[in-house]
Symmetry: D2
Subunit: 381 residues, 4 copies
């Protein structure tokens, strides 16, 4: 065992949701150790959160720039930083750490605006440090399995991609009740112009691309805000045209009662079809054309090396959301260690990049533009 | 028990699929008796089929016009006729029987072309006889249950409708193998310009309208033909805008491996969501917003009168496709008997009409036009 | 098409449940025509029921012996009779028809007592007429598929059989509310000493034997009556030892909330396992050892001739309880027609016999005896 | 945040399965830090494993007694020890640590023999230290939910408990192939007289007791070894009689193809029924008698405080096996911290105890004795 990578965190103080998830994810495979943080823009809150986490006071900061500067100078300063702030606060800290050669593990969507995203891509490109975006659903073993099967040609040429991400938690104007998660996620300043499109649509878009290996050439969207007074979209219907001729549909909604976190992907090709659902992530339905449907299970007879590489337990011992998230951290660790050792990471190591992040922000932008122009097909870069 | 209604049939000879389904459906609830038929355009085949069915030779015809004429004169001639020919052969016989006051039970889609459909609506309007279109999926008890719940306001104002109908049987060019069902269903002359849109898209469109009670104002479509050489579409992605502001998505495909006959409807409103799947038709998933999801079952505690009215067996004794189809026949019988008795049928009696048929053909037409004009939103009449 | 077989019915008047099921089942495949009946021991009720069914008054009887005598003399008298009375009233009419060479299609369990069952086996043996017991669950296509796979050795030598049949409708003392179905089914005089064991345990026992092809050598049971005041059992736990060394478990219960009609069978062998559930009857789960689980579907790629022979619709068009029941009637028709033509029925024709009926009654008897002697293993004949 | 509890480990070296699980489980909620270990009886292997885990060499031991002695003397020696050796090696180390006041977290089953188990109960009773048995399935949130609902009377008086734990990995003589896990688990010396009964039957037995709150008074078992040459059982059918009159069935099998780790519990009472499956652990099916079945989800509207207390993520973000296991560690941590602070742990804190361990070993013993005496009912202590 090599040493654990020293990790800092920006955001993720008390009352935040995703910060805690990142910390567990970083811990599960024991590749990281949280050693510093700037957990809130409010100094007092940042300190309290740092204390909660058992960090020494001198490694808890009120300001991320100050944190980046000092940690970069410390002999045992952070090697990587997790950025888990609201969307509009990703780029600022990311740049500070990137320019000091500190690897960035950043929550999605990449930024709140497209220009910001483009700049961040440049910053990342100019840095030797790695940039890892936590499109965590790509960390699920059976998503890896699906990607490998598509890549291996099991489905033949792809024809149709159906992806959806439905939730119901914003069916009512929860943002008016003081609920923090709802507040910032429906605030165009903090979240970006996209509501459902940004928060969950980007995940669906990324997942479909990850598994299919296909690039969307253009899209046509009908974007809605159903809850009166809401300032961002809460439902979107999107048609996709992929390079090579495949077509797709993407639906994201936060106003679909009966859906908790229902990300679902179906991919159909000339020779077979696959179906995967995030809420039952250890299963992958696979139908070779003309044969009975098979239920592939993580660790089971039909799952291969791509799934096994990122699994921790045998078949029948379900792994979940946190383990999938942990895989992103494990992949980041592998890449960071290779990088620091001046080596090339194993070819199997894969994680979402800043370019994926830009693609996601461009997706949101295109959805909104298409919808405003009566569904005109918008080319994606 | 009243007498059984004397039924004739046009089409449905040897090798046909849907004719046999209509005959079982007509028999299940014992409201009809098959007494005459013109089962094929080929005289010999028609006679052989009639003999198979135990009909006396003088009630088996080579020509539907001749059949309509003679049966109309017979004292115990047919009271109703089932038309189960390929799509382009619906209107011709329908008019012959309608103009002689013989009720028509016609397979869907209504016709192969929109002008034909419009004319048939006029013919039906000019006749005293009833016109029943067999959008059979509306006969399932849990579809009736869903419709009743929506109508009763259980979901509040509707926001989103997701409907899909996926199959995989045309993933390969089956029409080139001599397989009869594939041949005519992919022949634009017999089937109409729509392939998947006409054969199954119309079912999905009708079902969504039936349950939601909403009217589609306009649609935007991306229609594809994936199998090389195929002359009609085999996949379509359609965005829907409903009167009142709800939005929807319709996907129909015959090239989606792993899907046998996967018609699925989800309806989401301000206060709840419903989900129904044709392949598991005795279940209806119902989530009142903020409460646990419930699995309503045909005959079970959560199912009401609308479902019970069209059920034959208690909870846990699954009813299927044939029973759902039989309900269309039972409703037709109730309407015919009321009509012939000069009474108004019970308000609960409902069946798809010639107008539903026109709507379906208009849907296909609009999909194709929209797709040809880069997804322009096309208003539906 | 040959002529339809003339069918009579004993029992099944107004308010009965299973009589209506038998009539639909007899109608679905059009092999039978109901021409006579003795629908109730009450003359007035029998006549009213006959009128409901459109029968001529002279073919409606007050007394089954009188019916048997007269119908046997008529030139176009019944060729077969369906007996759908409560259990204690099966043997009486069966003997009257059997001794006049009229085929009997009898509901299960065979009789209310073991001595009665033994006598009925003799009566059936002494008659040229056929005796068909409606263990209808053996008529489901995927049950036939399962049986064929076991017989073909797909599972290798069988090791474990898990069968259960759970309901919840008798969780409360419904028999005290005047509910007719509950009354007679919990009355030891009419139903027999077994409650759940007789009404549904016999189905489970029969199904397990049908699919596995194995014979139970002995059983050990723990039989309970949970609802206070109930005069028959409402739950039973049974251990089974099969000839050849396989072991099994049978659970039947009518007091298991959340179960409507949950008959489920699992069979495990050296080389694979199968699972089938009555409430989702078009599916059969099949796992070859060391391979992914497959979902075989009626009409789908993995289903063979045994299932296809008794199917009416293509894959994805669900068939249900009534169709499975109809298959028993179709098999009976095939056997009757062969018999009357002096031929041997096709080897594929299969239906439950009077011997299966005796086995079921012996099963109930053994359960009760074992339970009374602290679970002593009781040999089955 | 308080300091992390210093944890040692006995067993769990390279190639072991459950050791790694314990380490992740201990890490997820950050209550423990692994600081010492005796990972193997082979000195070299223990050291290599310790190095893998980044432990300093002086905290890696070749001998557990030596480890207990030294760690007890160290100022920052282990406060708790995880024992993850094969079953016959639980009691030895447990006693060494217990007698030095070091808390024990021990894998199940408690011991390989009943006498050993009884002695260990005494040792634990004589120590001030806590003894936690990792019946990890009791850590799943929806298992906690089920237990709370039963305790709150949601089901009324219980009547029937159906529990099963089926696997297929030992369908063939894997122990003859050199596969380590199969070897020791089928070796009566290391595993105990029970094979499936000990390895998984004890889990099922414990889970049923945990959720139902009922005590088994007696059992009757039929225990089998299907794989030729195997020295322990691989399948068992057990009937249960609970105090108060409820009855149950327990099936455990390691030769049931199609089952990976299929632990399933169903509990039925006068007023409702529950069903939970380990492989889909975020769901709990709940049917109040006479109402539709509900699908309760972890974090969803129907789940209460008992589930929320042991959850880490919101609804729709599946937690799995490792998180359930982590809950046992979190509960242990809470109890240890309370203990060390001289306080009483929160009433909600619960974990399996050494007494549960004894009950499990007694269960195995009773199964074997009952089976050897033709299913005689054996009283449990």
């Amino acid at each position: 065992m090599t040493e654990r990578i020293r990790l800092g965190m920006v955001g993720g103080g008390r009352d935040a949701f995703i910060g805690g998830v990142h910390r567990i994810a970083a811990r599960i495979d024991d590749h990281f150790e949280l050693v510093a943080g700037c957990f809130s823009a409010t100094a007092e809150k940042s300190r309290a959160s740092g204390a909660d986490l058992g960090l020494p006071p001198d490694r808890v900061y009120d300001d991320f720039t100050q944190m980046a500067k000092r940690e970069a100078r410390l002999k045992t300063g952070v090697q990587a930083v997790a950025i888990v702030t609201p969307n509009h606060m990703h780029a600022g800290p990311a740049k500070e750490f990137l320019k000091r050669g500190i690897h960035v593990i950043c929550d999605k969507p990449l930024t709140a605006t497209l220009p910001e995203a483009k700049k961040l891509v440049k910053s990342a490109g100019a840095s030797d440090a790695l940039f890892v975006l936590t499109h965590n659903y790509t960390g699920y073993p059976m998503v890896r399995q699906a990607k490998a099967m598509v890549a291996d040609g099991a489905l033949g040429a792809l024809r149709v991609v159906q992806v959806e991400y439905a939730q119901d938690w914003l069916s009512e104007p929860l943002e008016d009740t003081g609920m923090k998660q709802a507040e910032w996620r429906t605030d165009p300043v903090r979240s970006g112009a996209g509501g459902a499109t940004g928060d969950i649509g980007t995940h669906a878009f990324n997942l479909a691309g990850f598994v299919s290996g296909l690039r969307v050439e253009s899209l046509s969207a009908d974007v809605q805000t159903f809850v009166p007074g809401r300032r961002v979209d809460d439902n979107a219907h999107v048609l996709l045209r992929y390079a090579g001729g495949a077509r797709g549909m993407l639906w994201c909604s936060q106003v679909a009662p009966g859906n908790e976190n229902a990300l679902k992907l179906r991919v159909f090709g000339e020779k077979g079809g696959l179906e995967w659902r995030q809420e039952d992530p250890n299963y992958l339905w696979w139908t070779p054309l003309g044969e009975p449907k098979r239920l592939l299970t993580r660790g089971g007879a039909g799952a291969g090396e791509a799934a096994a590489r990122v699994s921790r337990t045998p078949a029948g011992h379900p792994e979940g959301y946190l383990e999938g998230f942990a895989t992103i951290y494990a992949e980041a660790a592998a890449a960071i260690l290779a990088k620091e050792a001046g080596e090339t990471a194993d070819a199997a190591v894969m994680y979402p990049t800043v370019q994926d992040g830009l693609d996601g922000v461009a997706f949101v932008d295109a959805c909104i533009r298409s919808s405003k122009s009566e569904g005109r097909w918008i080319a994606l870069p």
